[in-house]
Amino acid sequence: MAFVLSAEREREMSEIFTRYPTRKAACIPLLHLCQDQEGYVSEEAMSYVAEQLGMAPSQVKGVVTFYTLFNTAPVGKHQVWVCKTLSCALRGAKDIIGHCEKRLGVHVGETTKDGKVTLRTAECLASCGTAPMMQVDKKYYENLTSAEVDRILDRLLEA
């Protein structure tokens, strides 16, 4: 089925175009809109963005695959990103990752069977002074302990 943005997101798209002197500059913001809607950027969404911007779909795909945050396949309802870079690693990131894997019953990179949570590791998320930390969807959780991680994950799994 052909991809279209919801009416509200389409309005947002029109507003985004006004910010730049070229259509193409809206590429990444538009891809974010598509991913917000579907949870990932499908081939259909890439064609849609290409058409809006006057680009070739392959060009858009080149952009999508360059950036870590764009998913090219469906993912869980919630995204859990645990930072594993140095400042966090010095303060127990490895244990936090292990704890998440155990609690969720998945390895890093996998989604729980019920499709609720995808567990991933992230590179430095600019929160090094409150390490260890993780990002759940759009929110940061800092100065983590295993007990805190349990509370956060339980809420996601129950919801």
Partner: protein, 448 residues
Amino acid sequence: MLKPVKILTKMYDVPEGWTMRAYERAGGYQAAKKALGMPQATVIDEMKKGNVRGRGGAGFPAGVKWGFMKPDPQKPAYLVINADEGEPGTFKDRTLMEKDPHRCIEGCIIGSYAIGAHVCYIYVRDELHLSKERLWSAIREAKDRGFLGAHPFGGNYAIEVYVHTGAGAYICGEETALLESLEGKRGEPRLKPPFPAQRGVFGNPTTVNNLETIAAVPTVIEMGGEAFSKLSSLHHLNDGGCRLFGVSGHVKNPGIFEACVGLTLRELIYDLGGGMSRGELLGVIPGGSSCPVLLPSEKVNAPDEKSVLHPWHGQSVLDVPLGVDTMRNLGTMLGTCCAIVFSDETCPVAVMQNLMAFYRHESCGQCTPCREGVGWIDRIVTKLLHGEGSVDELDRIHDIGNGIMGNTICAFGEGSAMPALGLVRKFRRHFEEHATGKPCSAGGRLDA
């Protein structure tokens, strides 16, 4: 010298300090109003006198950079603010965006005017959702107040500020990759020259400033450049003002602290950072992961009176003021001024493996020496960490690292090779233990 100040962090403890109401009550936007009534060249002059060294890592004087912008009637100029904050260990720009977004916007207004730009983009990494929200809301408030738009402060110099986001790629912090990304492309660095001031975003003259650099601008205008610069004890080295210092890792009180330029690593770690949270200090990476490590046992060797470092000759490197030129002369870099501290319960081989995994993941892959070299170093150090490498391989790291240096499009190459070379050289004993199958005293761990 520890001289705490409250300029950049003035709003941090104010309730709802991120709102227009709070910011104006604290005297906000007076500097922008003043600047827009000054000749543009005078604003640039004040910035030059302010000796604001770029806060994004390279330490280039911001006023001089602004001076590179030449008016071109055929081409619009752009101001682009780098808030991609991705350098491991760095978490300062985020605090400004979250706690004092109006200071950032005010800096953008003054900067745009000074360089002749009517449009400014703030490139924020996508993960920083609260930062983006606060900036957008500050922009809306500033528009409503008439500080942005067609007639800022009632004048005729139009200025628009927009927030633009990336999608997760450390390399987009490199200024030309950032411009590519802003144009809607893959974030692959460009060859320089042409420099952004000649050919930047959309093919037009562009200035790229770090977010903290631009946040210092209102104070430079308010105090006057010279007075601002003289806050610093390194004023004589053209390294002026105050800035944000960060400390993370094995300290009791990690965080962001504001102080005048001239603070030492010892003060950052033991006074502001509260001292070690475990063990003894083994190493400190002064300003983000791309800066070579310093050891507390290292002494300054600068007998020559003309040397920048001479005043600290014979002292520990921890007692040298943190400045762009002082750190460069110590063979490392000031970088982003956010230090990562690790204790003697940490395995330096594991430190290096963690960083090399990061760089391997983040190389954009355009240049063979970077793409292959960083991957190769990562493979070797991973083997060493698990006690599987050899002394031969350990020595090969030097060749690979030296093969990267100077042979790449962007500074990512040096930024990954230099810390690797520094770690291997300064922790030779630890690396040899790993290469010869001796037990590692830290058990190969980072968090003990």
